[in-house]
Symmetry: C2
Amino acid sequence: MHQAGYDCTVSYVDSSGVKKAVVLLSGGLDSATSLMIARRDGFACHAISFDYNQRHRLELGCARAVASAGGAVDHRIVRIDLSRSGGFGRSALTDDIAVPKDKPQGGTIPVTYVPARNAIFLAIALGYAEVVGAFDIYIGVNAVDYSGYPDCRGEFIEAFERLANLATAAGAEGRGRFIIHAPLLRMSKAQIIKTGLELGVDYSLTTSCYDPAPNGSGCGKCEACRLRLAGFASAGVADPASYQR
Amino acid sequence: MHQAGYDCTVSYVDSSGVKKAVVLLSGGLDSATSLMIARRDGFACHAISFDYNQRHRLELGCARAVASAGGAVDHRIVRIDLSRSGGFGRSALTDDIAVPKDKPQGGTIPVTYVPARNAIFLAIALGYAEVVGAFDIYIGVNAVDYSGYPDCRGEFIEAFERLANLATAAGAEGRGRFIIHAPLLRMSKAQIIKTGLELGVDYSLTTSCYDPAPNGSGCGKCEACRLRLAGFASAGVADPASYQR
């Protein structure tokens, strides 16, 4: 795992000399920043997003805009139904469970946790990386100003990286070594925003709200909105997102 | 990882006293055997199969029959398009690449390998386990009479088990410990068949062929058919599957 994400000495370069990465893109501010870090690291970026029947599916339109503005060479949206209708559910992000609007209680994993979501997303991204010929995968997880999700921790990313090199033909045959880049892991939200602005991220294209209005404006009260607003305030920058009054 | 799969001392028992497992079911003989081992181990089995736009999708009908005959409490088929049309592909199991009909060359991973397939399937099964309240996952991988797929090896299963306990709320909160059971890992195909027959597996319901005829009969020549036929011959039992003449 590369927390900083800037050391590309072992990155995969294909026969055409292009250094490819797969970048997980949600439409939120973290993954938009992660994309521009991957671009700065010199990668041709294959963006991947997931239509998992999330309630805030509006984010996929943002992901499209972010991929395009960020110069991704392509952008794929993979469908996998993780809601109750697909036999999964049990999360406020996919089902008819209220998104909490009060301050989170520390030490508990919130109801917005989606079972094994990042393991599922990274596994699919890994297969996609093998198909496009990439050994580098970028994910915008963050373990500082975050919600306490288990699959946003460094130990999880390290365990996935180890798995990736055992799970694949490309890894088993020694054609290269998969690296899971989590460049935001130890950054505060304010640091992420400042880094993104330096790299030209247009945060007006991003959405963070778990419970947006039909026009896409944020509720301003869910944990994702709270973390975003506090991050912009701490960075001393106006948040270009629109919020419900 | 439990290779033998018989030690259930740390298995999860829910508040109703039911010991639940998620069992990956392909419709083939290995996973049908794995299901009956899980049943013998005392689990209420939640079967899960994948419609990944495989060419041999006929296997899903077999999976339905196997789940029903094997007494699974439910059976879910998850859709995730891993073919070229979904942006993946690069495998003879999903795309217009000929399934090899000659004897395999040792030491190479065959074109029937699907990029990161078992990592994707296990990650989805993990999410499903968390949803249904299971900590035990059975997968019928085998590293003896097998095709050399990297994601059928013990190291892969061990790495996934480690990941599973970091990736999930259930694992992170210490509510239990996920175990990936690979009871067939070190068995020969003949041993698998003998074990399954002792446990009442009806192999006439299963299919193994990578390139079946429209009526479901096997080609008899692909590696999956070869391994199956050799296994039945070595076990001294007639294979109830039908083959093309």
